[in-house]
């Protein structure tokens, strides 16, 4: 089955990329952008079709590799 893991910075953690993008959007005269925070997505294709199994495996993958849980949160959608 196909799954998508989304990894985002925890609240309050500085996001230099997001800031730079905000600045650039402003320079490109896009109005009304309050804030931009950048994160990562991983589209993962798994052999299993069992949702629980998948969720368990993906959680482990996030904790071990995909997310830096010191500064990032992750969410899994199947």
């Amino acid at each position: 089955m196909k799954a998508r893991v989304t990894v985002t910075l925890k609240n309050g953690v500085l996001d230099p990329q997001g800031n730079a993008i905000e600045g650039s959007l402003e320079a490109l005269s896009f109005q009304g952008v309050r804030s931009v925070r950048q994160g990562k997505v991983f589209d993962v294709e798994l052999d299993t079709d069992n949702a629980d199994e998948a969720r368990e495996a993906l959680t482990a993958m996030c904790e071990r590799l995909l997310a830096n849980t010191v500064i990032e949160d992750f969410e899994i959608s199947l």
Binding site: A20, I21, S24
Partner: protein
């Protein structure tokens, strides 16, 4: 030879490029800040290496949208020679002045070392001082130098002989398709390359093989 160097916040090999142009092409280049709207009439416009805007979002992406680019496009129409090195190459692809894209190195790590280049097309204003097939050392220092273009594009580039430099002797440091280290645009006036010729131009650097790029431009001017 008159030249201009475009400077973006985060450019950091601008001083290296300025030194190379000054010492090898006989004149101090005009420095053009990214927010300026006109680039003076010169023989060569150089986009230096660095981490413009921290290379945030995508390497070169934000710089490629800065005000000065509008006039860079105008100069391109005019046929002014434009040289992009490293981050400059990334900016030129992001700006659509060169095809393809520069992705994260296959090894994922930043890589700084001296590789071997092969001069594949020496009938350009950027490479005429090299001998056809000449193999010479040149340093690289980048994180996103992995050249990619889709199959059709790649074929067009190869067919029209627009690969100027390739990584030679299995020294491809980043996974670039077809070992591409430097390419030319269709019209032949824009070159982008990942390696740093400006860092190999005096004895102190342990060699001068990088001079050829600049002496070629000088001769073409």
């Amino acid at each position: 030879m008159k030249s201009a160097v475009l400077i973006f916040p985060g450019s950091n090999r601008d001083r290296d490029m300025i030194k190379a142009l000054t010492n090898l092409c006989g004149q101090v280049p005009t420095l053009v800040w990214h927010q300026e709207t006109t680039i003076p009439d010169v023989d060569v416009i150089a986009l230096p290496g660095g981490f413009s805007y921290g290379d945030y979002l995508r390497s070169g992406a934000i710089a490629a949208r800065s005000p000065v680019l509008k006039d860079l496009h105008r100069h391109n129409e005019k046929g002014t020679n434009i040289l992009g090195v490293c981050n400059g190459f990334q900016i030129l692809t992001e700006a659509g002045l060169l095809p393809g894209a520069l992705m994260r190195n296959a090894g994922l790590n930043f890589v700084c070392k001296t590789v071997q280049l092969e001069a594949v097309n020496v009938s350009t204003p950027f490479s005429r001082q090299y001998a056809q097939g000449e193999i010479f050392p040149c340093p690289v220092a980048h994180h996103d130098g992995n050249y990619f273009a889709d199959a059709a594009e790649l074929e067009r580039i190869e067919k029209s002989n627009r690969v100027i430099f390739r990584y030679a002797k299995k020294s491809n440091p980043n996974g670039s398709l077809n070992d591409i280290a430097g390419i030319l645009n269709k019209k032949g006036n824009v070159m982008g390359m990942m390696p740093h010729p400006e860092n190999l131009i005096e004895d102190l650097h342990g060699g001068v093989s990088g001079q050829g790029i600049f002496t070629s431009l000088l001769e073409a001017a």
